[in-house]
């Protein structure tokens, strides 16, 4: 059953057309903000496809790696050619809540220093990175810093409280629908 927001909905990856998933994966591999691809890892919460709600067109992927101690490392990739501003925030909010519902004790996001889209999402919820690992990743021809955000469920609930009204189940419609410029890069962790 899909998890629906105002702009996007998340659907099981297995239900998506193979060609669309392959297209997103190929795009993602060429997106420096995503860093090095990691192999498939087992998680109680499966990866999901992000669909534009108005036309059910795939616009991205959300997934996680489950680490010992029920730590879920969250990742999101949005196709910059299709996603609109706000999609990343909404898809992240739905999926991170799903991770906690699925048993995650903590959720982390490992974000490259130049990934403005992802840092922007966390800035909106007033979350600062806990760790900055100097030149920890080699990507796009250079060693880059990796910033780690981490939070537990109570912190997450506090963080999104002010956004709850515009998130799924909230009362208001997102104000940017239709009028927002397209995002300028892949929103990714």
């Amino acid at each position: 059953m899909p998890l629906a927001g105002s702009w996007v909905e998340l659907a099981p990856l297995v239900e998506a057309p193979e060609r669309e998933v392959a297209r997103l994966v190929a795009l993602r591999l060429l997106t420096p903000e995503m860093g090095s691809p990691t192999g498939p890892e087992e998680s109680p919460v499966p990866a999901m496809l992000v669909l534009e709600r108005s036309n059910r067109r795939p616009v991205g992927i959300v997934e996680n790696h489950w680490l010992p101690g029920a730590n879920a490392v969250f990742l999101i990739y949005l196709d910059p050619g299709r996603a609109r501003a706000g999609y990343g925030m909404e898809a992240s909010a739905i999926y991170i809540s799903r991770l906690f519902d699925g048993g995650a004790r903590r959720v982390s996001a490992e974000v490259l220093d130049f990934n403005r889209a992802m840092h922007g999402i966390f800035r909106k919820v007033h979350l600062e990175p806990s760790v900055r690992m100097a030149e920890h990743v080699y990507v796009a021809g250079a060693f880059r810093d990796l910033l780690v955000y981490s939070f537990d469920r109570p912190r997450w609930l506090r963080m999104i409280a002010r956004y709850r009204a515009i998130l799924p189940g909230g009362r208001r419609t997102m104000v940017a629908v239709g009028g927002s410029p397209r995002v300028d890069s892949g929103g990714s962790a």
């Binding site: 101690g69 982390s108 806990s130 760790v131 100097a134 920890h136 080699y138 060693f143 780690v148 981490s150």
Partner: protein
């Protein structure tokens, strides 16, 4: 064309401290060091001799070496999680008395940078007993604290902070120039 610049020599001995590769015969010494340095909690290393002997130079315990002063073993160190693309690896250091062991650890770190194409060495460990000594030891060898992940580690049902330290090759070279020029690469 021949490059006339001299290659820097290996350094495994400094002021009476000597590093050598660990072998399964050292399992008893290593087990004592794991217990004394709380490395079972900090780095998830096994406590039993048999398990340590079996783990030596396998993925969780690479480049395992012992540090001796005369006949006495004073410390050990090993690596894990080497990333060939990003040229980094994770360090585990085991010193029963970390105070004053900074130079010894620096010799081991220097050997890692000297023998491997490494850009960075890092250490991550939960805040368990002995952590303060571990932190001072890493700082004494040139590492800097990169942050603390609150409640990230789960040990015995308790959520503990995870401490993150790192050292880049160029920063280590700078540290050597300022603190121990004999270790400069």
């Amino acid at each position: 064309m021949i490059d006339g610049a001299r290659a820097s020599p290996p350094v495994l001995e400094l002021d009476g401290l000597r590093w050598r590769e660990a072998s399964p015969d050292d399992a008893a010494e290593l087990a004592q060091l794991v217990a004394a340095s709380h490395a079972d909690l900090a780095y998830g290393l096994p406590l039993s001799e048999a398990a340590i002997g079996a783990a030596l130079n396998r993925p969780g315990l690479r480049h395992a070496m012992l540090c001796t002063r005369g006949p006495r073993v004073v410390g050990a160190a090993a690596t894990r999680n080497r990333n060939q693309q990003a040229q980094n690896l994770q360090l585990a250091c085991l010193f029963a008395r970390p105070a004053g062991a900074g130079a010894a650890l620096a010799v081991y770190v220097r050997h890692l940078f000297w023998s491997l194409p490494l850009h960075r060495v890092y250490a991550q460990f939960p805040a368990v007993p002995g952590t303060a000594g571990q932190e001072r030891l890493l700082r004494a060898a040139g590492f800097t604290c990169e942050g603390r992940l609150a409640g990230q580690a789960l040990i015995g049902g308790r959520a503990l902070d995870l401490l993150c330290y790192g050292l880049l090759r160029r920063d280590f070279d700078r540290w050597c120039q300022e603190n121990e020029p004999r270790l400069a690469l």
